[in-house]
């Protein structure tokens, strides 16, 4: 039998910082990543009330450029890239012909003919192949896997702007949500984007890997006065779930469509032909058989990924994500249930053989206060 060589576990440029800070490191999507430092609850609360600093350098970066880059991306992503001005980004889907997800991603318009796609670490290799394959025949356009050229640091929380502003000449107050700008951060050339995966205000910074340590240290120092916390993948997951942001591999994958996942808002129906459009149009006409819903537990229990969902006592769906949220102090989650399930249907989750009561609630579970 052929031996499959396990790929070497990769380290981000900030690996030594994490170890030095006492993080618990875990393998994640081929990377050795910090899952928690001071604890998920502590880090989660820091992001909701002050600020947290995340190393998300494991994320994949794929650049697409060429005279026909914009029209090509119109064909292979679900959102409308022609609506993006240079300096603007949006959330989008890389869809199969069935309207299901190859991946979800952010698309940044760096220049009229030059885009940056930030993709899930677990899908980066697959995505690059998929994009390269599907760009063939779409004219003067090429994809480049540039993941190794970027470290990505996320500063998230209500105090993010006051921490970052002294370290950069980029006027942050003027930067709108989902816009970005090139500039220096603590003396390093990079790109600052007002984006994140926490539901909180904040910034993500793309910097050269050799400058990542310097930027991280400067941010940690600048955040000292507001008790900035380094935060790991554990808090990243509870934060994104409170904000009802989908997680690839849990809430969406190549068996779930954009409509079922409640992500129709990233499907640009009117822009013309794109991968997955025909299947989605058909599903919209016929009606999807299931949909992703939010729930909160009534009984004391947590409904977790893979647990069966019962509607009116009959097994009818599956939990995709679930946790005890530190900020809302409730057990919440997302699940696929039959599309016709009424909002007030009696729901139960099969928690390791025990039926625990839950109810459907609107998403997001948490919305940050607007300043």
């Amino acid at each position: 039998m052929a031996q499959v060589e396990p790929a070497a576990v990769k380290h981000t440029p900030l690996h030594d910082r994490h170890v030095g800070l006492g993080a618990r490191m875990v393998p994640f999507a081929g990377w050795n990543m910090p899952v928690e430092y001071s604890g998920i609850v502590d880090e989660h609360m820091a992001v909701r009330t002050r600020a947290g600093l995340f190393d998300v350098s494991h994320m994949g970066e794929i650049e697409v450029a060429g005279r026909d880059a914009a029209t090509a991306l119109q064909r292979i992503t679900s959102n409308d890239v022609e609506k993006l001005t240079v300096g603007q980004a949006h959330y989008s889907g890389l869809l199969t012909p069935d309207g299901t997800f190859v991946d979800d991603l952010l698309v940044y318009r760096l220049a009229p003919d030059h885009f940056l796609m930030v993709v899930n670490a677990s899908n980066a290799v697959k995505d690059y192949r998929w994009i390269s394959d599907h760009l063939k025949g779409l004219g003067d356009v090429v994809a480049v896997d540039n993941g190794a050229r970027y470290a990505l640091i996320a500063l998230q929380g209500p105090a993010a702007r006051e921490i970052l502003q002294p370290l950069t000449g980029v006027p942050l107050a003027e930067m709108k949500y989902y816009w970005f700008a090139a500039g220096e951060i603590a003396g390093a050339r990079g790109t600052i984007s007002r984006t994140g995966y926490t539901g909180e205000d904040g910034f993500e910074m793309f910097v050269p890997p050799q400058m990542a340590g310097r930027v991280w240290d400067a941010l940690m120092e600048a955040g000292r006065s507001v008790d900035l916390r380094p935060a790991g993948l554990g808090a990243r997951d509870t934060l994104r779930l409170e904000s009802a942001m989908r997680l690839y591999g849990n809430d969406i994958d190549d068996t779930t469509t954009a409509i079922e996942a409640g992500l129709e808002w990233i499907v640009a129906w009117s822009k013309g032909e794109f991968l997955g459009r025909d299947a989605l149009v058909r599903q919209k006409e016929q009606g999807a058989s299931r949909r992703l819903v939010g729930f909160e537990m009534v009984d004391r229990a947590i409904g977790r990924n893979g647990y069966p969902v019962l509607v009116d006592g009959v097994q009818a769906g599956t939990v995709t994500s679930g946790t005890q949220t530190p900020f809302l102090k409730k057990a919440i989650g997302m699940a696929y249930v039959p599309a016709e399930t009424p909002k007030d249907a009696p729901i139960e989750i099969d928690v390791r053989g025990r039926r625990a009561k839950a109810r459907l609630v609107p998403m997001p579970f948490y919305k940050r206060p607007r300043s």
Binding site: G39, G234, D237, I302, T323, Q324
Partner: protein
Amino acid sequence: MYPPELKYTKDHEWVRLDGERGEVGVTDYAQKQLGDVVFLELPEVGATLTQGQSFGTIESVKAVSELYAPVSGEVVEVNGALKDKPELVNEAPHTSWMLRVKLSKPDEVNGLLDSAQYDEVVR
């Protein structure tokens, strides 16, 4: 750092013996691995424990783990304080007992680890 008066299992539970009675909890190593504890599912008074068998679950923000009985016996008391404050397991793992048990096979404790041996296991 592991209290010498406790006996330990390789599954990261401890028992504090007092004659034929014992208090049962999880170790500091266990709580560190689990992270923030949010729920405990424990048996009721009168339930029977069998050494090495699951007697409940401990749930943290990120995962659920089984709890394994370090000794056989009958549950005589359940720590109600942990129901409302499961985070006590993180804050004081070696004093946050979950159950008080009347041992049915006191000789079993001879097979448990002492603090030095347990320290080797988790080192």
